[in-house]
Amino acid sequence: MTWLRLVLQNGARRKLRTLSTAVGIALAVGALFSLVSFQRGYQIGMRDELDKLGAHILIAPKGCPYDAASIALHGASWPCYLKADYLQRVKSTEGVAEASPMLMNALTDQVSGSQSVYVGANLDLLGVKRAWKIDGAFPLADTDCLIGSSIAKAMHLQKGQQFDLPCLKGETGSVSGILQSTQGADDTFIYVTLARAQKLFGRPEELTHILVRLTDPDKLDSVVAALRGCEAGMDMNVVPLTHLFRTIQRMVNSTRLLLLCILAVGTLVAGAGVGNTVLMAVTERTREIGIMRAIGASAKDIFLLVWLETLTICALGWGIGIVGAMLGAHGIEVWLRARLPFAPTGTLVHPELGTALACLIGALLLGSVAGLLPAWRAAHFSPIEAMRVGSGV
């Protein structure tokens, strides 16, 4: 006979009630765990994205910087364009180490609905994307194509192979190289020379964006100021990516704070539910508590028993909540991705053991507080009065 056994047996008396109370805690724990895991995953994803991008500044046509960053990172058609001659002004700005001109366009297959993203670039891109590993060569000739690893796999393309460019009827290309997996959106792009892209999409002397790498990232502010102040500055959107990501992170954090406030109310309600359930259980077992006092239980023992019962319900709720959150992580990720204005390509929900343990401590603290009233009440029953309950005396 152990305390745990006694506590579990008491909880098992009214399984449905215990379970429904635990579910209240589970919802709070699951939501908190998911929220913290999302925040962590988002942070990691953003940092990853930034690392993979290799650029410190994105120069895009005038418009929303968040949209521009999202299109540049994930691939899509651009609504407006930059003049190609801005590139020289950007390159000549002090502090700029590399500036890679890009022309991006996304085409959709009318039959299958699949999307192909073409990126026109020149060798300057390799100065920005320093982590890239290419099996073969970067496109130099007009028909050369560098294929992202996912596309190469999907289309079964090999180095040196001739193929029809998807969504571009009558156009062919030759695989000059295959980009090794970057675990990012780059894996899904088809890279051609800038000149060919401009020709294919009818945008001569135009660019969609310029990726800029600095000689010294600490001088970001001064370079951004110089770019904004140059002659073309009025027509360009100079987006410092670190700042942009920081701003996005701040926005996500403010949303998180709001959600945490709502969650705190939900948690308090769940705690009150647990307290109420245990109080009800104590009232139902008043006579039994009197008998326990008669056979040797002290007031402290009764307090401990009821308090442990509350903690057990909270621990059960924690378990259900964590398992539920883990099982639902994929669904949450899909749901969030569809709603966020900017979402990194990596996993959005990043569950960690530390988070789960922190949730357990939180749930037990909640149970500790919620269990105080019923435990105190049970411990202060007069044994004799308690034994009279239900006996008709």
Binding site: W3, Q9, R13, I291, M292, A294, I295
Partner: protein, 248 residues
Amino acid sequence: MEFRSPAEPDSERIISTPGKAASTIVEARGLTKIYSRGVEQVRALDDVSFTIAEGEFVAIVGASGAGKTTLLHLLGCMDAPTSGTLLLQGETTTNLSDAALTRLRRQTVGFVFQHFGLIPTLTVTENVLLPLLFSRRKMRNYAAELLEKVGLTHRSNHRPHELSGGEMQRTAIARALINSPRLLLADEPTGNLDTANGEAVLELLQRLNADGLTVIVVTHNPILAASARRQITLHDGKLVSDSANIRP
């Protein structure tokens, strides 16, 4: 054994019971218990005095509302008297704290209830072991020994709802004995049992008493009352007689 004559409630006349030899385990001096029911005050016990020696088998009898159960609860330190003094093994219980009373109850007293008071979710063995959980002792083997003593070894893993009334009461008796008390208090132990089971419980109580355990039973059962060696009769909260049963 001593008692204060009910005919002379205020007198100090003490009558000695023939055969007194063992040490006193219970000494009640002028125990009075008054309950408040709204504006009305109910005198459940009125100046009751007696002593019980170790090894006695005492039946407390009387009509319903005579104060039998109230007296049993006072003897078991479950309730405090409004006035008067109770000594258990020579120790005054009147001014003891709740924790000290619990300790005394745990070490000295075993309780048996009319409605058995078993925990429905626990097995027979677990019910018997429950008091040990509260006294932080581990004596699983002793539980098995007790179950054998009350003839319930074969039922050790059953839950109370799977037992007959007699088996439930024998489980309750085993539970009352697990802390090796010196005093067994039983409130109508045969009240919910049929004749056969009642007799089995009575026989068990007699056996325990023969082994040296002091037994006090509150009962309406004339057979049980007659089988006790001494009978205390209460009427309207007063002790009206305290006599030794004459055995054939």
